[in-house]
């Protein structure tokens, strides 16, 4: 609430109060046992945007405190993973990369997938992990998962420059890659990725406040899900049956579209993207409703 409004209301109430005594009074806040399912206070969320900023600032600033290399460490993880994938899946298992240089192929998939996996993993412990703060002060709880997704985005963008550097290098030295107009869809793909990570994360976070069973599922579930997504293999090497099954994985469309846009190899379909969009909207919408429901009294059971 901004200050001007509050000052006004207190001034205005004093003369009006005697007349107001028995009439329906105006209350700024009414706390009741259960809110309506769709009673989500987006205005309040907006009022707390500075808190979102501070949380993102905290996440970014504190990760590499007391290190000498600092944010350079953000690069190390995707580079090491790419090298290992090149060796294990490229050299040993000899899985096709659709004629694309292995470094680019793996790096693009890893960077995208990492963003989803990290958003999902980190937001899925929102309630349990922040019970200490949530138990002492009120603010819209959704700020926390939003800030995690936002700080993840910054990390993703830093890692994405690594991919772009490799991309520019190969573009100039080889003719193995063929970027095209689908490249422009990248921001949209990132948005969907963020939405999916957030949506799944807050659903799991809400489901684990009382019964913790699902937390065990999350840990290896995300790892397994990576193999159901074309990260280490292209869609094109799959048989028609496997393809039909994988079509239902919304992230597969995002990864393939991005690979096609930048590298010129991959499955792109408007239907697939439309499905991924619909899927994201549903997951995110359901997530927000469940989260909103849970945040009212999760402190009693967490």
């Amino acid at each position: 609430m901004n200050e001007a409004i509050t000052i006004d209301s207190t001034v205005a109430e004093i003369p009006a109060q005697s007349a107001n005594e028995h009439a329906d009074e105006h209350w700024d806040l009414v706390i009741q046992p259960k809110r309506h399912l769709l009673d989500i206070n987006f205005k309040e969320l907006w009022d707390y945007r500075d808190l979102l900023y501070m949380f993102v600032h905290r996440d970014i600033v504190t990760v590499y405190k007391q290190t000498i290399l600092g944010p350079i460490w953000f690069f190390v993880q995707p580079i090491m993973t790419t090298i290992i994938y090149l060796f294990v899946f490229g050299t040993i298992a000899k899985i096709s990369t659709d004629g694309i240089p292995g470094i680019l192929f793996y790096l693009s998939g890893i960077v995208m997938w990492n963003y989803f996996a990290e958003s999902f993993n980190r937001t899925s412990s929102t309630f349990v992990g922040n019970a200490g703060i949530f138990g002492k002060v009120y603010f819209p709880r959704l700020i926390v998962p939003l800030s995690l997704v936002a700080s993840g985005l910054i990390k993703f963008l830093i890692q994405f420059t690594l991919f772009l550097a490799a991309f520019v290098y190969y573009l100039n030295t080889t003719d193995a890659i063929h970027p095209n107009a689908w490249l422009l869809a990248t921001p949209y793909l990132i948005l969907l990725m963020a939405g999916l990570g957030l949506g799944f994360g807050i659903i799991f976070s809400s489901l684990t406040t009382k019964y913790r069973d699902l937390t065990f599922l999350i840990q290896f579930g995300v790892q397994l899900a990576m193999y159901a997504t074309p990260i280490i293999y292209p869609m094109s090497i799959l048989g028609p049956r496997a393809r039909a099954i994988l079509w239902w994985n919304p992230i597969a469309h995002l990864i393939e579209t991005m690979k096609y846009g930048f590298l010129g190899a991959g499955d792109v379909s408007v239907a697939g993207l439309a499905y991924a969009t619909l899927f994201t909207v549903i997951v995110l919408g359901a997530g927000i409703v469940i989260f909103n429901r849970t945040e009212q009294s999760f402190m009693d059971t967490v």
């Binding site: 700024d28 806040l29 706390i31 707390y48 501070m54 007391q66 002492k136 002060v137 009294s297 009693d300």
Partner: protein, 426 residues
């Protein structure tokens, strides 16, 4: 005055025991009732919140049917024993969790200080943490920037502004946290015993700030504390919660007197609590302490300005003979300062007896101000052997008698001893 917060039939039910496989049947049953549009089957059960009784039901009402109105600009103290439901009430008002039944209505921004420095990150500097903590408490960034100098000044940490707060002492962290909170501008401020930490100078400043906020700014303050002195100092009005129910509400002195009376409703004197820390050889132990008036009646509270006898039932470990026992009694205030100490050897009195006995100390014209005091007892055999030394032997509640003979009580919040004086002028 208009009402700033209104609580209507607020109740909060908690489940006893652990969450596990056993609880899912209740959850499923509750869900099944809800699906069919029926009432929660467990909302009718549950026992009253009395922590010293065995649990009969699986549910407990931490709060039951609380109705309360707080006027705008009022500073309301909330008192009650541990576990009475005070903090639960504050949690409901500050939206940490929602009530089981009832509604809470409020006008204006609510800020709660259930803890100071919530969410501060040890790796971040004092300056960054001021912003972080301020934002968590609901301040806007430009608001904090505007007040930054005042906050730093209040915390008194100019030198360490760019040092991570993990290098701070815990007291300094509290100061920083409170400084941020002190410059919040809410219409309604909720404070839970956060003043218990920090040094004396800081506590004084913190209380001063709260008074300033409530008196100057017309803010509504809800304040929970066990420190009777700070409740007296800050809150003209006070409410008392007992076993999850609102027992009494009104003038602070009256409410406090009722509260203190009830905590000492002990017809035959108080056993020395088994948890009291004691030392000494233990050949002779103090088991029970009673307060008696001049007629020998047992009292629950004593009046200042009257003669009071403190009787100590001493139990010998074996049926042996003690030749010259010295007994001591001391009264301490809330802050563990000695009010006075009496010792039988001061007046050259030594006790000689065999086996158990009762030692009585007759205090003439009790000269301590109204309030609650902690008692320390000490028994020794001359100066050679400490028999029994009990740190929390008893609690003595002194209510106002008529010490000065004029009805004046003195200034009990400032000074704990009363002294009669005569005055002349020339």
């Amino acid at each position: 005055m208009s009402v700033a917060i209104k609580l209507e039939n607020i109740s909060k039910q908690y489940r006893l025991g652990q969450v596990g496989t056993g609880t899912i049947s209740h959850d499923l049953n509750r869900w099944w009732h809800r699906v069919r549009g029926k009432e929660d089957p467990y909302s009718q059960v549950g026992q009253i919140n009395r922590r010293d009784q065995a649990a009969e039901s699986e549910y407990v009402w931490a709060l039951k049917d609380i109705n309360l109105e707080v006027e705008q600009g009022e500073v309301l103290g909330i008192i009650g024993a541990n576990g009475a439901g005070k903090s639960t009430l504050l949690k409901l008002i500050s939206r940490i969790t929602s009530p089981t039944t009832g509604a809470i209505k409020a006008k204006g921004r609510i800020a709660s200080l259930l803890e100071v420095g919530t969410g501060m990150h040890p790796e971040m500097t004092a300056r960054e943490n001021i912003y972080l903590n301020g934002s968590i408490l609901g301040m806007r960034r430009h608001e904090i920037s505007r007040k930054l100098d005042e906050i730093i000044d209040f915390a008194g940490c100019q030198m360490y502004l760019d040092t991570p707060i993990k290098r701070f002492s815990s007291g300094m962290r509290v100061r920083l946290g409170f400084a941020v909170a002190a410059f919040l501008d809410p219409e309604i401020l909720i404070v839970d015993e956060v003043l218990a930490v920090g040094d004396a100078e800081f506590q004084k400043r913190a209380i001063g700030k709260m008074q300033e906020v409530s008196q100057g700014g017309g803010r509504t303050v809800l304040f929970v504390s066990h420190n009777m002195a700070s409740i007296r100092q800050l809150c003209p009005q006070c409410c008392w919660i007992h076993n999850g129910q609102l027992i009494d509400q009104g003038d602070t002195e009256e409410t406090l007197a009722n509260y203190i009376q009830s905590t000492l409703r002990l017809p035959t004197g108080a056993n020395v609590p088994s948890t009291a820390s004691r030392s000494g050889t233990g050949r002779l132990r103090i088991r029970r302490i009673r307060f008696e008036n001049a007629d020998g009646d047992t009292l629950t509270t004593v009046q200042n300005g009257t003669d009071v006898t403190i009787a100590m039932d001493c139990e010998a470990a074996a049926d042996e003979h003690f030749t010259s026992v010295v007994a001591s009694l001391a009264l301490l205030d809330d802050h563990d300062n000695y009010i006075w100490l009496v010792r039988s050897s001061f007046t050259r009195e030594y006790f000689s007896f065999t086996g158990s006995t009762t030692i009585r100390c007759h205090i003439h014209d009790l000269n301590v101000a109204q309030g609650t005091y902690r008692g320390v007892t000490f028994l020794s055999e001359r100066d050679n052997e400490i028999l029994d030394n009990v740190r929390n032997a008893f609690t003595l509640t002194v209510v106002s008698g008529d010490f000065f003979g004029t009805g004046d009580q003195g200034l009990p919040t400032r000074c704990k001893t009363l002294t009669r004086s005569t005055w002349t002028h020339s």
